[in-house]
């Protein structure tokens, strides 16, 4: 980057002002930026649309989101070239695509894809061509001083993107006939047409927001470098030099060397100074508006802000660290000092925060109590044998050892209902012992039978279950008692189906 050729007025700004500068950049270059975005993203959109038509709606949306860093690279390259008066034509960008877009891309599509400071960090790797340890060291250097707010920029943009694309979709939906009306949040994945419409509205939103996101992040990056490397000073001095001649400039630079030693590391002087004259000029420059325009600003600030700012550089003084240490260690954590007047207030706040956290936990447990209560049942259904079907106890322990004899005894005593009940439970128990059953408590006898017929149509006991169920329903709901012969016949068939094959299997060598 040649600072001489920079195409903007560089000045140290607050991060929010820097983002505003990004917005100005976008407004100045919105036509080429949008064109570049469309050129490099439309092929990918076509691929993603094809995926939605082939039914992979969720994958298509995920793929498009995942490859956003790739589509942002030409935008950033354009901004950098345009700012430094280099050739930023679309043809050049297309020709050089593999030079600037592919090197260092892989980490941005893998673990760095989830970096919330992407807009700020990508210029470090893409424009400065840094990777690995150099990249990390450079990031560390650029994180010195006031926070750059790149994370906040990502949060803001993500929310604006979500709101705008969803609103745009709803607007389109409102113009469609009623049967397509948006009814719930997972609407996008319900059909291919829905996913296509959702994707297109999202893409249109991105066509505005992505260039804005890149320019804002780039402006943050430039601003940070301006603060740390004194770009504004360097440019100001160079302008002066141009005005007053090369000799004067070098003298001035030599004079100011002690002043600039910490802020302009790459500013070098190549000629010896003429001390008296240079000193006089330096005083004039420092007093002039060109060097540092002065303006008065009135703001509200805390009384102990100075001491707080001093502590900010220490990571232990970050608000998150202090909040966590305060929550777990006590009031000293948040105040950073042992102030006897604050603990009582801090203690109250701590109790309130803990109460809120516990209440949230309890509310979550209460809200999902049905689902949580069903978890043991679900685990049991996959790990342990079935003990109940449709509310009936079918454990072997709950049934007599010799079921046929017990059934006959009940039938001879005239307890036909108990006899049939035993037979019914015994049949279900036998069927469940060799097959997986998933019958809900609300299932009726007919539904249990239907379930068995659908899931285990080949099992010999299912036919018997059908006959027992029909007889059982007659007894239970119509109060028609069967004859002893019917029960005897059914119990014999039960024995034949379930007990005889088991005994044969046991006696076989």
């Amino acid at each position: 980057m040649k600072l001489d050729s920079i195409n903007a007025r560089i000045a140290p700004r607050t991060p929010w002002q820097a983002m505003d500068m990004g917005t100005h950049l976008y407004r100045a270059w919105w036509k080429p930026l949008t064109l570049i975005w469309l050129m490099f993203s439309l092929p990918l959109l076509a691929l993603v649309l094809w995926l939605t038509y082939s039914g992979s709606n969720a994958w298509a949306l995920l793929l498009f989101w995942w490859l956003k860093p790739l589509m942002e690279r030409p935008l950033l390259e354009f901004c950098a070239r345009q700012l430094f008066n280099q050739d930023a034509s679309i043809g050049t960008l297309l020709k050089d695509f593999h030079h600037y877009a592919l090197p260092g891309l892989l980490p941005w599509l893998l673990w760095r894809r989830f970096y919330l400071t992407r807009s700020f960090s990508v210029p470090i790797s893409q424009l400065e061509r840094l990777s690995g340890r150099d990249y990390r060291e450079r990031c560390r250097v650029l994180s010195i001083g006031t926070p750059n707010r790149a994370m906040m920029l990502t949060f803001l943009m993500a929310h604006i993107e979500l709101v705008l694309s969803y609103s745009f979709t709803v607007l389109v939906m409102m113009l469609l006939p009623g049967q397509y009306y948006l009814s719930n949040v997972d609407w996008f994945l319900q059909s291919n047409n829905n996913a296509t419409l959702g994707l297109i509205t999202w893409y249109i939103t991105l066509s505005v927001l992505e260039p804005l996101y890149v320019t804002s992040g780039f402006a943050l990056y430039l601003n940070k470098r301006t603060w740390l490397e004194g770009w504004d000073l360097e440019l100001g001095l160079r302008r002066l030099g141009q005005r007053r001649g090369q000799a004067n400039l070098t003298a001035l630079l030599m004079c100011m060397l002690p002043l600039l030693a910490f802020s302009v590391p790459d500013a070098q002087a190549s000629a010896a100074p003429r001390a008296g004259e240079a000193q006089q000029q330096a005083v004039e420059i420092l007093a002039g508006d060109d060097f540092m325009p002065t303006h008065i600003e009135q703001t509200w600030q805390l009384r102990n802000k100075d001491s707080a700012m001093e502590k900010e550089e220490d990571p232990q003084n970050s608000w998150l660290y202090r909040l966590l240490s305060w929550l777990f260690d006590g009031a000293g954590g948040i105040t950073g000092r042992d102030d006897s007047s604050l603990p009582s207030l801090a203690e109250i706040l701590r109790i309130v925060l803990w109460s809120v956290a516990i209440s949230l936990l309890l509310w979550t447990l209460w809200h999902y109590r049905n689902w949580l209560a069903s978890l043991p049942r679900r685990w049991r259904s996959t790990t342990s044998p079935i003990t109940h079907i449709a509310g009936l106890d079918i454990r072997r322990e709950s049934l007599p050892d010799d079921l046929q004899q017990a059934v006959m005894e009940q039938a001879q005593r005239g307890n036909y209902r108990q006899a049939l009940s035993l037979l019914y439970r015994g049949t279900l128990s036998q069927l469940a012992s060799t097959a997986n059953f998933a019958v809900l408590p609300g299932a009726t006898e007919s539904e249990v039978l239907d379930y068995c017929q659908q899931t285990h149509p080949d099992r010999p006991g299912v036919l018997l279950l059908g006959e027992i169920t029909a007889l059982w329903m007659d007894v239970a709901w119509a109060h028609r008692l069967p004859g002893t012969e019917q029960i005897t016949l059914l119990s014999q068939r039960w024995q034949h189906h379930f007990v005889a094959p088991a005994k044969t299997a046991q006696t076989a060598p």
Partner: protein
């Protein structure tokens, strides 16, 4: 055309009516079944569905097959109660008041788009539905049995409508959802109209008549003789009571729902050819009986739940009776 003499005959007649109506109203078997169940149970039906799905055709076909009177009222915001029930008119020739009976003096009344009328007119219909009599100028006129109201409401266009109050909704035995037929059934309808098998002009005169008002009354009588075990009644009660403490419902069903479940369960058993009610009968009529008697809470609506999904969950959770 016969009047059934036994419960088995009644079941057979009910099924033949269902088959005949289903030949005209293709692809709406569930709707036909529920309307017939309501007729046998002496109840009224609230039909909800978009226009053009055959609601009028259904009523015309029923009226023709059962040889009972039919009338239709198109409810509008300016409809007055006297437009439904009738009024007393001064006859200048005889110098006396003469009663002019309204369209409600019929046996099968189609109240189209009932929620477009004002609450006052809806209340007039409420008396007709509940009391089965109409009072004009202090004089009561009982309606000729069988009397049944099929009210329709349009779910799409809710502007300028007066939602039915809970008290009136409770008077309907069933709320039946009439939806678009599946593609095969729709294709069948188109082919039948093109072949001339059925007419698209609501002309049902070619259909056979199956019984008359006496036959319908006999069906209703035999339905009351179907036996109902205490365990099944208990199941119906548990289903209804579970709606009152169900998570996601702000309003549960009242005692009328329990009664409706048992009555409709009997009709269902009759149509299945049984002389006793089994839990499946109760379960099969639970959705149309309960769906208009319960109200989703705001939380459940925000979570995307529907009355149908909640009812399905409830039917899965409430244990079926075991004797």
């Amino acid at each position: 055309m016969t009047t059934p003499q036994t419960l088995a005959d009644a079941g057979q007649l009910a099924r033949s009516i269902e088959d005949t109506v289903s030949t005209v109203l293709v692809g709406q078997q569930q709707v036909v079944r529920e309307v017939l169940l309501a007729l046998i149970s002496s109840g009224h039906v609230l039909l909800e569905g978009v226009p053009g799905l055959g609601k009028t055709l259904l009523v015309r076909t029923l009226s023709h097959c059962l040889q009972i009177d039919f009338a239709r009222i198109q409810f509008t915001p300016d409809l007055m109660p006297t437009d439904v029930t009738g009024h007393a008119m001064f006859d200048q020739k005889t110098e006396q008041f003469r009663i002019r009976k309204g369209p409600a003096f019929t046996q099968l009344l189609l109240a189209d788009e009932i929620n477009r009328a004002s609450a006052k007119t809806q209340s007039a219909l409420l008396e007709v539905m509940q009391e089965r009599q109409i009072t004009i100028e202090g004089k009561c006129f009982p309606l000729a049995p069988p009397f049944m109201v099929l009210a329709t409401q349009n779910p799409l266009d809710q502007e300028g409508t007066y939602p039915l109050p809970e008290a009136e909704l409770d008077r309907f035995l069933f709320k039946t959802m009439i939806d678009y037929p599946v593609i095969e059934q729709e294709a069948k309808i188109v082919r039948m109209v093109l072949d001339g098998t059925i007419s698209d002009s609501l002309n049902v005169s070619a259909l056979n008549t199956l019984c008359d008002a006496e036959g319908v009354l006999a069906l209703q009588h035999f339905a009351t003789t179907v036996s109902l075990d205490d365990g099944v009644i208990d199941y119906a009660l548990r289903l209804v009571r579970s709606t009152r403490d169900q998570n996601g419902l702000s309003r549960g069903a009242g005692p009328r729902a329990s009664i409706a479940l048992c009555i409709a369960g009997r009709a269902q058993a009759l149509m299945e050819g049984r002389d006793f009610v089994i839990p499946d009968d109760i379960k099969s009529v639970a959705r149309p009986v309960l769906r208009h008697r319960i109200q989703l809470s705001a939380d459940a609506e925000i979570e995307g739940q529907t009355v149908e999904s909640l009812l399905n969950r409830l039917l899965d959770q409430v244990p079926a009776p075991r004797q």
